[in-house]
């Protein structure tokens, strides 16, 4: 297999509230020989607030990053499911509508017609690198971890632009986790919404959605939830209980990124640091299973 090489859009969360996602992504890509070239001086994709309030802005913000990717010329790798969705949707619309492409170009001041592929790391690991090629890198089995794979919304919808094999019952994350020795528990909430964009403004709604996810995960016999989205993880970890003044955890089931588990299974240095930065610490569970010292 030729060496995989991408331009890399890290996304804001991966150096902020989801630093462990960003760090573990870089670590596993380096270890697997996937070259990443960070887009120089990239900017925010605008996320939900962009497309909910101003259509042209929602294309121009990713448009600036697409123009940067065009200059580099390689396919683009994204790990945040929200950034991934915005990049893909914008690219599709820009390439399909020349009049719109001209308006975006005018706003950005650079050519946003990036024709390379935009890929999510999970898709690359499962479909390009392949499970068979990852297996020899694994130093320890993650046996004892019982996970429900939580895909969320933006990795799977809209299906015309996203990478998963099924919009109602995707299986990439399942396959990936099984390869690491994780027991994947069946549940029906793989692609249910956590309410990400309402996290600050209508916390009451988000708490209901998040609590339901934890209850269903517990019911499914899981001891952890695995995600591929920093918004999902932030919501699950921080939005469980009405938190006016205090902060209580109603559910203490750890929520981890797929990259962290791959790093752990590969025995990469630095994984302890990732797990320590979670609001719901996975360390007691990992210690109990003798997966970390």
């Amino acid at each position: 297999m030729s060496r995989l090489s991408f331009s890399y859009f890290p996304g804001c969360s991966q150096s902020g509230s989801a630093e462990e996602f960003g760090d573990s992504t870089l670590a596993v890509c380096k270890a697997l020989g996937i070259d990443l070239e960070e887009l120089p001086d990239w900017s925010c994709c605008g996320a939900s607030s962009g497309h909910m309030t101003n259509d042209l802005l929602s294309l121009a913000l990713p448009g600036r990053d697409l123009a940067l990717a065009k200059t580099i010329g390689k396919d683009m790798l994204v790990v945040c499911a929200a950034c991934y969705s915005r990049m893909k949707v914008s690219q599709n619309r820009i390439l399909a509508d020349e009049e719109l492409a001209r308006r975006v170009e005018e706003a950005v001041g650079a050519d946003p017609r990036f024709t390379g592929e935009i890929r999510h790391l999970l898709d690359v690991l499962v479909n390009d690198v392949g499970i068979a090629a990852i297996k020899p890198w694994l130093r320890e089995s993650l046996a004892g971890l019982k996970a429900v794979p939580y895909y969320g919304c933006l990795l799977v919808r809209p299906p015309e632009v996203c990478c998963c094999d099924s919009v109602e019952n995707p299986t990439e994350l399942d396959t990936f986790l099984e390869a690491l020795g994780v027991e994947v528990r069946p549940w029906s909430f793989k692609t249910d919404c956590c309410g990400g964009s309402l996290s600050l403004s209508r916390t009451d709604i988000v708490e209901k959605l998040v609590n339901k996810l934890f209850e269903r995960a517990e019911e499914a016999g899981a001891n952890c939830i695995v995600t591929a989205c920093p918004m999902c993880t932030a919501n699950l970890e921080m939005r469980q209980e009405p938190g006016k003044f205090g902060f209580k955890l109603l559910h203490d089931m750890p929520v981890m990124y797929f990259t962290e588990l791959l790093g752990l299974a590969m025995g990469l240095a630095g994984s302890e640091k990732w797990f320590k930065s979670h609001i719901i610490s996975p360390v007691p569970l990992l210690k109990e299973l003798k997966l970390t010292s």
């Binding site: 902020g16 509230s17 925010c44 909910m52 309030t53 448009g63 600036r64 309410g195 600050l200 921080m238």
Partner: protein, 182 residues
């Protein structure tokens, strides 16, 4: 006498979003699968019907268009291939452009805080976003305990990350803000 149905709103939305709301035949799958329906004043299929009836004023000031989390479950399940979440985007944008009273003012404030942060720094910085939103919504004392936990876990960085090419960002916001919502 039966008056002709007012198609203006439906046509405006089609021009904006490319979605043909007239295709909706009220199967209600969108409302059945909507994770936020329990909190809405109008459930999604009702929004579709009211678009067909041209009930613009009521729609632009309802809560639903802001509570929609854009999870796109409805859009993927619609048998008539209407991107319902896309229609919600169109309605939200129209509400802002027309200065309609927002059904969920705090959600409007959140979006304004979020985009304001990007306008000045080019990136989303949690302390800037949270600070701006708290100041605007005056919910100063919410989440203090969580804030302390976030600081302890290094989820909140003291120094905001800033894009070097600030002019590029200014240009994007200036150009896309013309004649529309900021």
């Amino acid at each position: 006498m039966i008056e002709a149905v007012n198609r203006r709103l439906e046509e405006t939305l089609e021009a904006r979003t490319g979605q043909k709301v007239r295709d909706c035949y009220q199967c209600k799958k969108c409302s059945a699968g909507c994770p936020v329906a329990f909190a809405m004043d109008l459930v999604p299929h009702e929004v579709m019907k009211m678009v067909q009836y041209g009930q613009e004023e009521r729609l632009l000031s309802c809560s639903t268009i802001w509570l929609c989390a854009s999870c796109e479950t409805c859009s993927t399940r619609c048998p008539n291939e209407i991107d319902i979440a896309g229609v919600m985007d169109g309605l939200r944008q129209m509400a802002l452009e027309k200065g309609a009273p927002l059904g969920e003012p705090e959600i409007g404030m959140f979006h304004k805080s979020f985009l304001g942060g990007i306008k000045y720094t080019g990136k989303t910085n949690e302390p800037v976003l949270i600070g701006a939103y708290k100041a605007m919504s005056r919910r100063l004392f919410d989440d203090l305990g969580l804030g302390a936990v976030m600081v302890a876990k290094h989820k909140i960085k003291i120094f905001p990350r800033v894009v070097k090419d600030r002019k590029a960002l200014k240009r994007i916001f200036d150009e896309t803000g013309k004649g529309g919502a900021k």
